[in-house]
């Protein structure tokens, strides 16, 4: 009888185990961003503008953008509160901050969305509350905003591809040479990043020689600096890689470090933004590095200026304003317009 009992228990256990699903918890823990804090002196009776940036700490790009916003607030006499995430993957922090801005009866919200898709619903909510919404740097997948000041990232990606082709040719790579181009993106869910990638590939497919191949293993570092460096080292280890394209600051810094670490002066590198590591390599005669710079100071300044105007009834004609980009390399770095932009970086 004991054996029969054991047999039945065995069957029940088999059925139970078969029904158990293997559930994995792969959520990445990111520290939530801080609450809003004043960017300017706060005075009674002035309009309160809430600025939400993608990365609130240790990021020169967003520091420059906040400088622009602060300078505008000082000249237009308004209060600006600011906050953002600690990592660009943390769109939930921005969602929370948008809710906080509604509760605080904001006179205007200026935001650069971490995630164009996931934040669209909350941006709708703010706009439908009657609060002017100005998008800067990145758009969102909704019509419910007043105006967007950003780089046309599809076009910026095309310019990056154009620069890559030019620099490879300058570096002596012939049209029939079989080479590979490695790509690393920072955040696969960011529309900014994806549009730059799309623009790059669009231009590349039309203008690059057929023997210059894009590596299909496009790496995504998800905003993590250590991953960006690790993937950069991996790509540089491939013997046919002669060109590198990165879509934003995180992977750009990763590759700048990796190129320096490995003294890869044979690589043509085109990235975005002007972090210290990238500035270092662009200014180094031995390397072939170019960077695409946005006008983030202008975005911060114009964003605050515009949201104040809208809150006072200014009519907006176009919803999208391309702020344009400049290509910085050894040949262009001393041009006056680029020097002016670099002053803010």
């Amino acid at each position: 009888m004991k054996r029969i009992f054991a047999f039945l228990v065995g069957i029940i256990m088999c059925i139970s185990f078969a029904g158990c699903a293997d559930k994995k918890n792969d959520a990445t823990e990111v520290k939530p961003g801080p609450d809003f804090f004043p960017l300017t002196e706060i005075k009674e009776g002035r309009k309160n503008i809430y600025l939400i940036v993608k990365t609130i700490e240790n990021n020169s790009y967003w520091d420059v953008l906040m400088d622009g916003a602060k300078d505008c607030a000082d000249s237009l006499d308004c209060n600006v509160y600011v906050s953002g995430s600690y990592a660009e993957s943390d769109w939930k922090t921005q969602e929370r901050l948008l809710g906080d801005a509604i509760k605080a009866n904001a006179d205007g919200v200026v935001i650069s969305p971490d995630d164009s898709v996931n934040l669209a619903g909350k941006i709708d909510e703010v706009y439908l509350e009657g609060i002017p919404v100005v998008l800067i740097d990145t758009t969102a997948n909704t019509d419910n905003y007043d105006i967007c000041y950003m780089t046309d990232n599809l076009m910026a990606g095309q310019k990056a591809a154009d620069e890559m082709i030019k620099q490879l040719k300058n570096n002596g790579v012939s049209d029939d040479e079989n080479i590979q181009i490695g790509i690393q993106v920072g955040q696969a869910s960011s529309q900014t990043v994806i549009e730059r990638l799309a623009g790059f590939l669009q231009f590349w497919s039309k203008h690059a020689p057929d023997s210059w191949e894009i590596l299909h293993d496009i790496k995504c570092s998800n905003g993590l600096p250590e991953k960006a460096l690790e993937y950069a080292e991996d790509i540089l280890a491939l013997p046919q890689v002669k060109g590198i394209f990165t879509t934003n600051s995180g992977p750009t810094v990763g590759f700048a470090k990796a190129l320096k670490n490995n003294k890869r002066t044979d690589i043509v590198f085109v990235g975005f933004d002007y972090a210290d590591e990238m500035a270092d390599i662009v200014n180094d005669e031995e390397y072939h590095a170019s960077t695409i710079l946005q006008r983030q100071y202008d975005m911060g300044y114009t964003g605050v200026e515009s949201v104040i105007g809208i809150s006072e009834g200014t009519d907006i004609k176009n919803k999208f304003v391309d702020m344009g980009v400049v290509v910085v390399n050894k040949d262009t770095i001393n041009q006056p317009d680029i020097q002016e932009i670099l002053q803010h970086n």
């Binding site: 997948n141 599809l154 529309q191 799309a198 496009i218 176009n318 391309d322």
Partner: protein
């Protein structure tokens, strides 16, 4: 009859396949059956899904292409009408048409003359230069469509359609109509499966995709790249299939389909070429589960039914086995035991003792042949009940003395045979002496005035194995011979074979 004796005997008569083994085999057969059923069912579902999703994908792509063709036909008709009107002032025509554009589906209308002068708003003229739209216009034979780009006026993705036309007595120009990408999204919308159907426009050369329909409304109109959004997500086993599917597209073939898995989800994906939009394709993807949900529910019901059936069968088997075991125990008792004394009967004794001796060639044993003296007279004098009492009490005495290491049987009416698993004559003789004393105390009834001077005695012949005989029959013959000597001598005693007379 001891438990040991029972066990030895029943083990020998038990079947080779125990109930437990049979249950395990039944379980394995059921498992194989269910596995076979599941494999067949799953294969049926997969084939059904592949076929059906493939057909639906093809229908959706066809619908998209038809809708785009409808739009291009409209543009062609409009350009034909304008050509027929032979306008000579494009600026005037542009002013008139741009004012009446509302409600026509497109968001703006304009012209390009033979000198490539653009009749459009300032923002649009900038966009012509930025996106090299004049190059697309030149491809209009009779129609061409640009890749989607972001409109400065709305901030949303748009595309521009060009149609060639003539004006001012045969001059060649182009009519253009700019549509929001949402127009294509509206074409892509289907009531059924709207949650599950994903539709993209895809450029073959760059792998860029733009989502036109999907479960998340906010992702519609967004750019992505198929290398990241599709290829990188697909399970490794299907990468080669995907590469082949993509190769068909790159080669410019009109349509191709693929089935692949992402995680545990199966998708069917089909592309179709878009006429007049050079290098662009409509891609439709549907997860298989959305179609097979009903069949899967049926499969779950069948499995549940089979599970219940299996458990019920096992319970029935177990209950039937328990009842059968109990009945068998009763029957076994009846077949191997003497009903009066509960000792082994002759058949059981012969079997067990011969089996024991066969297996115990290295061991020693002793066979005792015992007759109750003058038992017939007991029956005649005191009746059969008294005779039965004598036999029962004598059996108890045998049990008490030889219980361990012995097979005890009632061999005939007053005959008892004992196989002792030892050939120690002195020890066995001591027990026989004790038996004589115990037999002397057995009375046919409780009343002394009835049984009077009655004294029960027995005669016993003994032989040892393997010294006196090498098998049971010979051993019995030897013991019988010794018994005969005792009887000849006047009974009430025992004798060892080979003239070793003890009493």
């Amino acid at each position: 009859m001891t438990k040991k004796q029972n066990k030895d005997f029943t083990h020998e008569i038990a079947r080779n396949l125990s109930f437990f083994k049979m249950l395990v085999i039944y379980f394995i057969v059921c498992l194989i059956g269910v596995a076979f059923l599941l494999l067949n069912f799953n294969s049926l579902i997969v084939n059904h899904d592949k076929k059906l999703t493939g057909e639906i994908c093809s229908l959706v792509t066809e619908k998209m292409n038809d809708s785009i063709s409808y739009m291009t036909n409209s543009a062609e008709n409009m350009s034909a009408a304008l050509s027929a009107q032979n306008h000579n002032d494009l600026q005037k025509l542009y002013d008139e048409l741009s004012l009446s554009k509302k409600g026509s589906g497109y968001m703006s209308i304009g012209f390009v003359d033979e000198n490539q002068k653009i009749y459009a708003s300032e923002t649009e003229i900038e966009e012509f230069e930025k996106w090299e739209l004049l190059e697309i216009a030149k491809q209009a034979e009779p129609v061409s469509i640009s890749a989607p780009y972001r409109s400065g006026m709305t901030g949303q993705p748009v595309y521009t359609m060009f149609a060639d036309f003539t004006y001012d007595n045969g001059k060649n120009g182009y009519l253009f109509l700019t549509y929001p990408l949402k127009e294509i999204q509206n074409m892509a919308y289907t009531d059924s499966l709207s949650e599950d159907t994903e539709i993209w426009l895809m450029e073959a050369d760059s792998d860029n995709i733009i989502q036109c329909a999907g479960s998340d409304n906010y992702s519609i109109g967004s750019w992505n790249n198929a290398i990241l959004a599709m290829q990188a997500q697909i399970d490794n086993d299907y990468q080669a299939d995907y590469a082949e599917w993509k190769a068909h597209m790159t080669a410019g073939e009109d349509t191709a389909g693929i089935t692949y898995e992402i995680g545990k989800k199966t998708y069917t994906q089909v592309y179709a070429k878009i006429d007049f939009m050079h290098g662009w394709y409509v891609v439709v993807r549907i997860p298989s589960r959305s179609l097979s949900a009903a069949i899967q529910q049926f499969r779950t019901s069948v499995l549940m039914f089979l599970g219940i059936l299996f458990v019920a069968t096992v319970i029935m088997f177990v209950m039937s086995h328990i009842r059968e075991t109990e009945e068998k125990k009763i029957l076994e008792n009846l077949s191997i035991h003497d009903p009066l004394t509960s000792l082994l009967n002759r058949r059981a004794f012969d079997y067990t003792s011969s089996q024991y001796l066969k297996k115990s060639t290295k061991n020693e044993a002793c066979l005792l042949f015992i007759d109750v003296d003058y038992f017939k007279q007991v029956n005649d004098r005191f009746g059969h009940d008294a005779g039965d009492r004598i036999l029962v009490e004598f059996s108890s005495a045998l049990n008490e003395l030889f219980n361990e290491n012995s097979y005890i049987s009632r061999y005939g009416g007053d005959e008892f045979v004992v196989l002792v698993r030892s050939a120690d004559k002195s020890e066995i003789s001591l027990k026989l002496d004790k038996l004589q004393k115990m037999a002397g105390k057995i009375k046919p009834c409780d009343e002394p005035e009835i049984y009077g001077d009655f004294v029960l005695t027995f005669s016993c012949g003994a032989a040892t194995f393997p010294f006196d005989a090498a098998d049971v029959k010979s051993l019995q013959s030897a013991a019988d011979e010794a018994l005969y000597i005792v009887k000849e001598r006047g009974r009430n005693g025992y004798e060892w074979y080979n003239n070793d007379i003890q009493n």
